[in-house]
């Protein structure tokens, strides 16, 4: 087996992977960085992010405001020390991106412009029209070309981590275009593989968002934290799942049911006017808006479309100039997928799985429980998102903690012991045998059946509103699917660019991540953020459940669930209030 040695190996070349690669290169140009990604960097799912990236920049705004919006948005499950670090470094990283050429949208005077996002008191979302993720990713990819110490391994699929005496020693990956399995020796590994939205049937995520890195770390003992919190984005195209950015609502777009009524006012987010207005109505947090849709659907007040139930996102009053200038991609998407021109017609939308709050447990330094292993971006749970991510915090997270991961990995490598190639090669041999078993199995179940069954049970049991019974059923179904997965067979026996084999391996990752989500969910007997129950646990229980859930891998069954305290420094849990209520309390407490 070919061996490639590097100082730092990074899995995933999206916003987080690229930023950490650059950070290692800047920390020490002498360190060899192997940037491994199963797709070319510009295809990473960061490219699909539309809305924006948060960073306090206006004089009347403050780090505390950003801190409060994040912590209250996360229903107080955020680690406040990490949030403090995060909010105080966002603006610097956004400015770094600007210096690297990122085309942030501007005010007439040339300063960076910002707009409002759901759950945000004062607007602080930097944006590049409605393609912020795209421009950030391309800026980072193009800037990474400047650093010779970063060697890219495009279209290499990560099969497993190599660990020795509890320390990470490298990665085993397959070169997709030849099928060759190679051993990457590295003193430090950074996982930046993104979220796991694809475990759900309807999601806004790309095909590659299958939780690979989460599963790799999980299998090697790193706990997956807060996995039960999966964010539904309130406005995505029905069935297709393509995202319609929150920026539409930031610009003044409204949501109406089939009677043309702005239904959000019935769910504690009103009064509807004046509009647009921060932290109210359509600019409430994502979990509230998604929950409101579910209620409207129960009451039969949603619109029937060929692609399923939806509500209407009305942008007509914004006018053609503003729509084509500020939301060009949205007009394109609505036109080509739904045959709807937003200038003249409202866009049918519905909540769709969008973001995985949970992930590999890390902290401010992005270090995981395994020495030498770091995790950054959506695959990690660094502690800032809590039970419900504030819109535009995740793009900022990529660069703020990407820099952390790179710098700390570079630091770690200096003192790390040399890699033991012997044990590494042996482990790599085991990995090869595992993949060989799947590839060479003659008869077995078609993986699409298992995948669809997983996606359907997750949607049914771990959706917007959950019941203990429903979640338990999902856990049982997933356990059965894991059994069936042992017999999955792949028809394609070739080696060159065999994507069917990769889909089979991905399915293995997804089943484990889905099980961690469902098991963590059924054990959380309260409602918090995006985890809402309607079986007697409707209330938030700060007594027993103001704590992070931890899912530990169990090779022979469901994960062991444990809990750990939430780091609370200065913001005590209070009611999450938005809309009129929020304003009232703000006046009284003259915060």
């Amino acid at each position: 087996m070919e061996v490639i040695s590097a100082d730092v190996a990074i899995i995933g070349a999206g916003g987080a992977g690229l930023r950490s690669a650059i950070a290692v290169a800047e920390a020490d140009p002498g360190l060899k960085v192997a940037l491994i990604s199963k797709v070319y960097p510009m295809r990473s799912h960061t490219v699909a992010a539309e809305g924006g990236s948060a960073g306090v920049v206006q004089d009347h705004d403050s780090l505390d405001n950003h801190f409060d919006d994040t912590v209250s948005g996360g229903d107080w499950l955020c680690d406040q020390d990490t949030v403090d670090y995060f909010v105080s470094h966002c603006t610097r990283e956004m400015t770094q991106l600007e210096h690297w050429g990122c085309p942030w949208s501007r005010k007439p005077d040339g300063h960076v412009n910002v707009r409002a996002f759901g759950g945000m008191k004062i607007e602080r979302t930097w944006f590049a029209a409605d393609k912020t993720g795209f421009h950030m990713l391309h800026t980072l990819f193009q800037t990474s070309i400047k650093f010779p110490s970063i060697q890219r391994f495009d279209e290499y699929f990560a099969l497993d981590l190599i660990t020795d005496e509890g320390r990470v020693q490298g990665v085993v990956a397959m070169e997709i275009r030849t099928g060759a399995v190679k051993l990457f020796l590295a003193k430090s590994v950074i996982i930046a593989t993104g979220g796991a939205g694809r475990v759900y049937q309807y999601n806004t995520n790309g095909a590659i968002v299958t939780g690979d890195g989460m599963s790799l770390a999980y299998r090697h003992g790193a706990p997956l934290r807060d996995m039960e919190f999966v964010q539904y984005h309130p406005t995505a195209l029905p069935r297709i799942g393509v995202l319609i950015t929150e920026g539409c609502r930031g610009e003044g777009g409204i949501l109406v049911n089939k009677d043309g009524y702005r239904y959000l006012q019935d769910y504690g987010l009103g009064p509807p006017d004046p509009w647009p207005r921060k932290k109210a109505m359509e600019l409430g947090p994502r979990d509230r808006l998604s929950q409101a849709f579910w209620q409207e659907e129960q009451k039969g007040r949603t619109v029937e479309t060929p692609l399923g139930q939806a509500v209407l996102l009305d942008l007509r009053h914004l006018g053609e100039k503003k729509l084509h200038e500020r939301l060009p991609m949205i007009c394109e998407l609505a036109e080509s997928y739904m045959g709807v021109d937003p200038v003249h017609e409202p866009i049918p939308v519905r909540p769709t799985v969008h973001y995985t709050m949970g992930g590999i447990r890390t902290g401010v330094t992005t270090a995981t429980d395994i020495p030498g292993l770091y995790a950054v971006g959506e695959c990690s749970s660094c502690g800032i998102h809590g039970a419900n991510r504030l819109g535009s915090n995740s793009l900022a997270e990529l660069v703020v903690f990407g820099k952390q991961a790179g710098s700390h990995a570079a630091e770690y490598v200096k003192s790390a012991r040399a890699v033991n190639e012997g044990t590494a090669s042996k482990q790599a041999g085991d990995v090869l045998r595992r993949v060989k078993a799947i590839a060479e199995r003659e008869k077995g179940e078609r993986l699409a059946n298992i995948r669809n069954a997983m996606a359907e049970t997750m949607e049914a049991g771990c959706g917007i509103y959950r019941t203990g019974e429903g979640m338990q059923e999902t856990c049982d179904t997933l356990a059965a699917l894991k059994e069936r997965y042992k017999g999955v067979a792949v028809g394609d026996k070739s080696r060159v660019f065999n994507t069917e084999l990769l889909y089979a391996v991905e399915l293995g990752y997804m089943l484990e991540v889905a099980e961690a989500m469902a098991t963590s969910a059924v054990n959380r007997r309260e409602s918090r953020g995006s985890h809402q129950r309607i079986d007697g646990y409707e209330k938030r229980d700060d007594q027993d459940f103001l704590k992070h859930s931890l899912a530990y891998y169990n090779p022979s069954g469901a994960p062991r669930i444990d809990y750990e305290a939430v780091n609370i420094t200065r913001s005590q849990p209070a009611d999450r209030v938005y809309g009129g209520e929020g304003d009232k309390i703000k006046e009284t407490a003259n915060v």
Partner: protein, 258 residues
């Protein structure tokens, strides 16, 4: 898209298959796929992969025409499979082939190395003699100063322009539309001072001078990047660079960030 749509229309999809370990040359293979007005060609391909023939290989991810993975020839035209709909071809059939002007790695997957080399060769990053400290905040750049380069920054690297460009077909050394448009994006960014370095690549036979303004690149571009325009403007910059008319060149280039 589950398969139990009852009153389902179906359509014929023919794919140019090529498995290097067994095929000596590409061979057409036909499939029948159910669809409705919102079914994209990409969803047709994923249906085939899930239910009919798992060995069909193709690149895809975002399904919203922003990642650039799913470029392929659809009925002879270079298109993004996720943004092209089966409804457009019914009742006719859909013939899908890997992107033209690139070697086929396998089925609908092309070899991208040449494209990546060209994209990275033109120094697609801000080049400055001196970068001001981050503490001093962002470079000022008015919306008016963004107009000269914004269009050329929309490229999703989907390579449709390369598959449409006859000059790239005739001469693989040609730098090509997307790379030249990206170079122009940086040349026209008021924060960049790297135009001279990029001219060393652009002002070559295989650089902008490999283009004869056919314009097919701008026709097929799904993001309206208009690489043909970027190249014509780069030819003028190249000419001014060659003839040392620096005064006129300064007039065209952005004034530099404040």
């Amino acid at each position: 898209m589950s398969e139990q749509q009852s009153d389902q229309q179906t359509i014929q999809i023919e794919i140019l298959r090529y498995r290097p370990e067994t095929d000596h040359e590409p061979v057409w293979q036909s499939y029948t796929v159910p669809f409705d007005p919102a079914t994209s060609v990409l969803e047709g391909l994923t249906y085939i992969k899930d239910h009919l023939d798992g060995s069909v290989s193709f690149r895809w991810s975002c399904r919203m025409a922003v990642c650039g993975s799913c470029g392929m020839q659809i009925n002879g035209e270079p298109k993004l499979a996720c943004q092209t709909f089966l409804r457009e071809f019914h009742p006719g059939k859909v013939r899908i082939e890997a992107l033209a002007n690139f070697a086929i790695e396998r089925d609908l997957v092309v070899v991208m190395d040449d494209f990546l080399e060209k994209l990275t060769a033109i120094k697609p990053y801000v080049i400055r003699d001196q970068d001001k400290p981050l503490e001093e905040g962002e470079y000022l750049q008015t919306p008016a100063e963004q107009v000269p380069y914004m269009q050329y920054s929309q490229c999703i690297n989907c390579m449709l322009c390369y598959s449409a460009c006859p000059q790239y077909a005739l001469n693989q050394e040609f730098t090509g539309p997307a790379a030249l448009a990206l170079a122009h994006r940086y040349n026209m960014d008021s924060r960049d001072q790297g135009v001279d370095q990029r001219m060393e690549i652009l002002n070559m036979e295989e650089g902008v001078w490999g283009c004869t303004a056919v314009g097919a690149c701008s026709e097929v571009c799904p993001k309206g990047v208009h690489p043909a325009a970027a190249i014509q403007q780069s030819k003028i910059l190249g000419t001014l660079d060659y003839t040392k008319m620096n005064a006129l060149r300064k007039f065209i280039l952005p004034k530099g960030a404040r």
